[in-house]
């Protein structure tokens, strides 16, 4: 359903500042070498291309190869993620606190977490977190509760030396008018130095704010209704895929994308699906 937009150039920067300078300078140096020494034509074509690419990489900060390898060494890519979201759940505050206090419950609604194991020996303050990392990998770290006030607040940090430097907190307050509990969640992932940074930056998906909002919504649904609203596995005319050729399916996929949010507002007469040719003649 998401409309994939071409990202503006500034957002595609994946090369760090110092590295960009080096790229630009080496491109210029190579160019001046070509002009001064005038190597044979056979040699000069790849050299000119190389010089051009180095200058492009330096000037725009976009590296095609880093992109392919999902590496991001720019300052932005290494900034990490900080997300704050709130939701109101129609349940008493102490009950909500108890559920959150056991971190083993978190993966039930936090999509990016695979598993959290609480170390009961330490009074339940220490826990081991396993998150889904990009490309099917996983990231693991240990965390400890740093501060807690019963039925009000829990804050946790990853232990020093963890591959993933993360912190989080959750605050519970009574919603006015007896409407349950307001839960404010804050999560932060700070990337470590090096190329692991890009992977950590993606722990919460491409849109961390939306991800955490959806996670909290699922939490609310579980708490209030005992289940998560779903249409997965229900029938539709699309289940008959085996009867359709791949090309037909591809066409259908395109149609679906066009006919979704993007097509809003829809037009009349329709511009995106020609309904005219399907019109049935009326029985008179």
């Amino acid at each position: 359903m998401e409309v994939q937009m071409e990202r503006p150039l500034s957002r595609r920067v994946n090369v760090g500042a110092a590295e960009r300078g080096v790229s630009l300078l080496s491109g210029l140096a190579l160019l001046s070498y070509i002009f001064k020494r005038r190597p044979s034509t056979k040699m000069s074509v790849p050299l000119v291309l190389e010089a051009g690419y180095m200058m492009y990489r330096g000037a725009t900060g976009h590296c095609v190869f880093y992109k392919m390898m999902e590496i991001n060494r720019s300052e932005e890519g290494n900034r990490g993620i900080e997300v704050q979201r709130a939701i109101t759940v129609n349940k008493p505050r102490d009950e909500m606190y108890r559920i959150w206090r056991n971190f083993e419950n978190l993966p039930r609604f936090m999509t990016h977490l695979k598993r959290v194991d609480v170390d009961e020996a330490g009074g339940g303050d220490r826990s081991h977190w396993v998150a889904k990392a990009p490309l099917g990998g996983q990231a693991e770290w240990d965390a400890e509760i740093m501060e807690e006030r019963e039925n009000e607040y829990i804050a946790w940090n990853s232990l020093p030396g963890s591959v993933v430097d993360s912190m989080g907190s959750v605050e519970f307050s009574d919603a006015p008018g007896g409407r349950g509990t307001i839960i404010r969640v804050s999560m932060q992932y700070n990337p470590p130095a090096g190329s692991m940074g890009a992977a950590i930056a993606k722990l919460l998906g491409e849109e961390p704010g939306q991800q955490v909002r959806d996670d909290l919504r699922h939490f609310k649904q579980m708490m209030e209704t005992g289940e998560i609203a779903s249409v997965e596995g229900q029938p539709s005319g699309r289940n008959n895929d085996f009867e359709r050729s791949i090309s037909e399916r591809r066409r259908e996929k395109d149609l679906v994308e066009e006919a979704s949010v993007q097509s809003f507002p829809a037009s009349d007469p329709p511009a995106w699906i020609s309904g005219k040719k399907n019109k049935r003649s009326l029985p008179s």
Binding site: M1, T88, N90, R179, G180, Q210, R213, D214, R217, K220, Q221, E224, T225, G226, E227, I228, A229, S230, V231, E232, G233, Q234, P235, S236, G237, R238, N239, N240, E252, L255, V256, A259, S260, V261, S263, F264, P265, A266, S267, D268, P269, P270, A271, I273, S274, G275, N278, K279, R280, L282, P283
Partner: protein, 389 residues
């Protein structure tokens, strides 16, 4: 099973699809005995509602027999005959507990999509686009009903399907429009649209003891129905200045209450009609607001405008200055069907109303494509279509 699938604009097909299964503990599976085409299904049929996917099963007005229940459903058992409200509501959230069932916080699996468009997500609705949850609808042999411990309403005694089917949507929708409009004894009520919802608005309006009910449409059979069953005075808007006529009829005062039972696909001739068609074609406007404009213009100072017809997106050139300076009150929204099931069923039970009067056509489900066309073009005197799987 057989189901009516949306395949594109004005393209519905009856297709063989897998039977529905229980997905969540509070689900039930219903074997559909009757299902109706709603005026708002035509908004999907004509492509006015965004986020439809090819293959979606349509239908939100349906009733039938319970065949299977999940572990969380204690109040229903196989064999029960039920009508199912069109909004899906959990019964647990702030909104459900406040009686605002169509605004349930928990029943839309695509809530983030709806939030991005509306700011907040309304309840999920059967067969009514992925914006409203993407639930498979009830124009099928079987349908999965989520939160079945909350929605379905048991009909135990011997009423025909056509007498109780409209409890699922159009009767409560019409009733709520009248109730919201704050009709007081002696009021004059004007109702735009004498389709199935309009007919129920007329019926419901009388229960609040107004002095007059005036109904506006252009199809003679619908106006006849409004006169015959609804004891309404009627205006055929074709070739008539509705606002001026209403003024004449009310001695210059204007109707105290104006109810829009048409919604986003209103029709109008002349310059204003071309204006909105052009804007619509350029995708600058999704809904055609003629009725809303007229209602605002016609309504008496300090009166109420109540919307029962569905809107989905954006309109422009709404005379908000007129509305403000005349001190109008606006009321609107999808019907909170659950709230009205018991009281409206009692009206049927007591013989005060027999909703089956709106039914003009009954088709087998297999003939859904023709049924949609006839209903859309209102040919053959068509007012309301019921289909039998």
């Amino acid at each position: 099973m057989k189901a009516v699938c949306w395949n594109g604009i004005t393209d519905v097909r009856v297709e063989e699809v897998p039977d529905p299964k229980l997905i969540n503990p509070r689900d039930a599976i219903i074997q559909v005995s009757s299902t109706a085409i709603c005026g708002s299904d035509l908004h999907l049929y004509d492509g006015y509602i965004p986020a439809m996917k090819k293959g979606d099963i349509l239908g939100h007005e349906f009733m039938g027999e319970v065949v299977e229940v999940g572990s969380g459903v204690k109040n229903l058992s196989p064999g029960d005959r039920v009508v199912v409200p069109f909004p899906i509501a959990c019964g647990n959230c702030f909104f459900c507990q406040s009686g605002l069932w169509s605004l349930c916080d928990n029943s839309n699996p695509n809530a983030s999509l709806a939030e991005s468009m509306y700011g907040h997500s309304p309840a999920g609705i059967f067969g009514y686009s992925h914006l409203m949850g993407g639930y498979a609808g009830g124009q099928a042999e079987y349908v999965r009903v989520p939160f079945a411990d909350v929605g379905p309403f048991k009909i135990e005694n011997g009423f025909r399907d056509e007498q109780v089917l409209f409890l699922t949507d159009i009767f409560p929708t019409g009733y709520m429009a009248a109730e919201m409009a704050n009709i007081r004894p002696g009021d004059t009520v004007a109702i735009w649209g004498c389709g199935p919802v309009g007919q129920f608005v007329i019926q419901s309006a009388w229960t609040f003891n107004p002095a007059r009910v005036i109904a506006i449409d252009r199809y003679p059979e619908r106006l006849d129905m409004a006169e015959k069953y609804g004891r309404a005075e009627v205006i055929n808007y074709e070739g008539t200045d509705v606002v001026e006529t209403l003024k004449q009829m009310t001695g210059g005062m204007g109707p105290d209450v104006c109810i829009d039972a048409v919604g986003m696909e209103a029709h109008k001739h002349g310059l204003e009609g071309y204006y909105d068609r052009a804007k619509h074609a350029a995708r600058m406007e999704t809904d055609r607001p003629y009725v809303l404009r007229e209602a605002i213009q016609a309504c008496r100072k300090g009166g109420t405008v109540s919307l029962a017809g569905a809107y989905g997106g954006f309109v422009d050139t709404i005379p908000i200055g007129a509305a403000f300076n005349k001190g109008l009150t606006f009321k609107m929204g999808q019907a909170h069907v659950h709230r009205y099931l018991q009281p409206l069923f009692e009206m049927i039970e007591s013989g005060q109303i027999d909703p089956s009067f709106v039914v003009t056509h009954i088709f087998p489900l297999e003939e859904a494509p023709d049924a949609y066309e006839i209903f859309k073009h209102k040919t053959d005197g068509c007012v309301k279509v019921v289909m039998k799987p």
